[in-house]
Symmetry: C2
Subunit: 353 residues, 2 copies
């Protein structure tokens, strides 16, 4: 009986109505280091530069990143580094490191390698939705090529050696970004987040470690890299995220069925404020765009697509805003420019009657 | 030189532009008690009823309240008592007292006498703007008539005796209600409120003692009733309130001149949210209506008047909302009805181009 029960698979997706993807994107990251060089935090600038010089062009040409180019992160101005952070191509850590840090990134920006962040190499692959398996395969293929070219720091007993002990072993961090506004509106978000913590999964905001969950976006990832193989790490994560997605989906359906006014209030206010505000901070904008994302997914909005929401999520951020204008702006001025931009971009969007 | 300096009077009103009344209304309240009856909190129900029976009809007919009628507060249902509180005709204290409490109120609701609140009589006169002098004269005339009819508890040494020592003496509380959203938007509100406290003036929300300042409305009143005559209490209060009004006026002009986007952002968001929300709590509604009041006064809105703002301020409150519908509603349902009502009432209002 136990065996039979265990085999009953609960349907993860309630088919009643399409209520959106919920899992927005996923990411695999592998931390790798060279055996014959000190970790970046223990290396001087010339040692770091040497690694960038030796590795970057090889990575761009030979590691299997399609249409890749090299970005000399340490030589960029602040707004461009901010832009790369906002696109999740580099971490805030790498952005702050200055000389001797680099990035190699594919033309579609889904595959990248950071050079001389905390580790010598951080391979990152992003996939849409929950296709972690595909992301893992791409990362693994790049890793295999790199392993043939570089001499990795590897211990038969511990696995891949990394600057921070928390990454020793597989060096793998797999994460899924989920949009949990429905659970917030049904007041169930806190209990779901607490349950994830009890499962020893990390839950973070869009900006990674230490960041706030702006726009109700949560990045759920494995905490442990030691003692499991990559497949089971990814499998476990997908199981749990599947449950979270299921709960969010149910929350959205409950809202539709029981308190549609809560849903409509959230979406209608967000649209109204975006279409009217003259001053808007980033965090607030992300929260309202989160509500519009839900509105699009729940078919409450006209003349707006998820692609347009995602484009705005990027373009309203400080780095993108300044790049588009070609000038550096102080925060108060940015808040005005952001509000103007959002009013213009969303002028035609309307609630469905 | 000192004398000459002291005589230089600073103009209170900057004439550059009309930026609204700021002082919305003022109020004089006189606490009076009968000499031959225990204070209401020490009296049993029959003693309290006796006072209402003896005083109410006399007050309605002979005390000089034009077109007055008697309201048997102790016998009203909860929604009606809430409605009287919202109209500032009775205090929450009186609303909660039950049997043996009453109200006599003039047809225009500007003059009223509460019976058996904390004191036997609380004479209240409301005037628009800052015309405290007029309010005082009306209250004084009623008090004089009552003094000829009733036997007041009065000590030649202390003045009028009251249930709470804080009211002993003149029994007078004079207050002015001011709308200070401009100071909030320039971030100067806290320092102005602190200055008022240092002058030993009480600053409260619209609901009187202990209430929050919903809608950025502040009731500034004298704290002391002992040791000064009525005219100097009122004169001192008017001096200080005149200063506050001056500061608010300057704040509004500074906003117009230096940061018009802050002003427009506040008004545009308030209008947009009211026109879109599906759920709206009272406090939030009052804050948005406060922004619309400022918008009307600063000529930023079309098809809206101050009278309409003031009518909404009353009609969105729980007692009024339920009276209009003729039914008792739980808070969550009220919030939906309120949002629907506000959307309907403000559908045609627009920002000036």
């Amino acid at each position: 009986m136990l065996v039979r029960n265990a085999m009953v698979t609960r349907p993860r997706v309630t088919a009643e109505r399409n209520v959106g993807a919920i899992a927005v994107s996923c990411r695999v990251r592998l931390a790798r280091n060279l055996v014959d060089a000190p970790f970046p935090d223990w290396a001087d600038e010339s040692a770091r530069r040497r690694i960038v010089d030796q590795a970057a062009s090889w990575l761009a040409q030979k590691a299997g990143l399609s249409g890749a180019h090299v970005v000399p992160v340490g030589e960029l101005d602040e707004a461009t580094r901010a832009l790369l952070c906002e696109r999740h191509l580099i971490s805030h850590d790498l952005a702050d490191r200055g000389a001797g840090s680099g990035l190699v990134v594919s033309d579609d920006e889904r595959v990248s390698v950071m050079i001389n962040e905390e580790d010598h190499f951080r391979i990152q692959v992003i996939s849409p939705g929950m296709d972690l398996q595909r992301a893992w395969e791409v990362a693994d293929a790049i890793d295999t090529r790199m392993d043939q070219h570089f001499h990795y720091a590897f211990s038969p007993k511990l696995g891949y050696l990394t600057a921070c002990p928390s990454n020793v072993g597989t060096g793998l961090r797999a994460s899924v970004m989920v949009h949990l506004l429905g659970l917030r509106l049904t007041n169930d978000l806190e209990s779901v987040l607490r349950a994830l913590e009890r499962l020893h999964l990390a839950v973070r905001g869009v900006g990674g470690e230490g960041s706030q969950a702006a726009g109700h976006m949560f990045q759920i990832s494995n905490q442990e890299t030691l003692g499991s193989d990559e497949s089971s790490l990814i499998g476990n994560l997908l199981d749990v995220v599947g449950d979270v997605v299921h709960q969010e989906r149910n929350a959205r359906l409950r809202l539709l069925r029981n308190t549609p006014e809560v849903l409509l209030d959230c979406v209608a206010r967000a649209l109204a404020v975006i279409q009217s505000a003259r001053i808007m901070e980033s965090e607030e904008a992300l929260d309202y765009l989160s509500a519009l994302r839900l509105g699009v997914e729940m078919q409450l909005l006209r003349r707006m697509t998820i692609d347009e929401v995602e484009s705005l999520v990027l373009n309203i951020q400080p780095g993108h805003l300044q790049k588009r204008l070609g000038q550096v702006l102080e925060a108060p001025r940015r808040d005005i420019v952001r509000a103007d931009f959002m009013r213009e971009m969303l002028a035609k969007v309307a609630l469905r009657a």
